[in-house]
Symmetry: C2
Subunit: 117 residues, 2 copies
Amino acid sequence: MAKHDPDLNLLFHALSDPSRRMMLARLARGPAPVSELAAPTGLRLPTVLRHLSVLEEAGLVATQKDGRVRSCQMLPEGLSPMRDWLEAQREIWEGRLDRLDDYLNEIMKEWPDDTRS
Amino acid sequence: MAKHDPDLNLLFHALSDPSRRMMLARLARGPAPVSELAAPTGLRLPTVLRHLSVLEEAGLVATQKDGRVRSCQMLPEGLSPMRDWLEAQREIWEGRLDRLDDYLNEIMKEWPDDTRS
DNA sequence: AATAAACTTAGCCATTTGGCAAAGTATGTC
DNA sequence: GACATACTTTGCCAAATGGCTAAGTTTATT
């Protein structure tokens, strides 16, 4: 399928892996070097590095090198596209409920009061 | 990594594909048969069927067969684990800001008023 | 200068994913 | 009963994913 929303693809994909969510959870508490991100996952560094780059490409994390250690920090605004999608979804859903409501009201008008039990 | 949260894995993975999001968007407007779900994606039925099963396993969609047509509907509460995760993430983040705030207040106390420019 | 630390790159491997065509099944319609 | 509909199953394929080891590279430390 044509990718009309690369943001959401990358974002949801980044969040679909538990190791990456674990790394993010650590970063939500504050910046950390790569090896500290790796610790709770039990994964090797090369693997963690690749997860990290997925998080970066999704716009969830930024990193910079300080001497020989790479410091990583979370970008909380990276979650916005997801919030927006969720909101849009909710609106469609509510629009649907509104139309159902209209419909029911329309039906009710057909029934005079005295036909109700 | 041990999968401590199969819900979130399946949910985020389900949402990471644009065809699946397209199908969901259609379903948010109301129930539909498989072929109607397929139409906007431009994909063949077998492919759509597999996307559909991914959505079902993620708890986002329920289907049932009515004669020879399978009717699909969205389960909006299927998005709850995602909302919860988002909320938890926000709380960690805010807890962090609170601690930063505490810290700054602590620093400020050290400085008498008349040292400020 | 030698060693240790902290990544980084390269390359391999098994599994999963996302797509398809072809053939099969079940259910309406004429 | 013949035929069309609407899936459904099977099986194939290429690319992406997630993991690893081994071998760099770039900074500290001693």
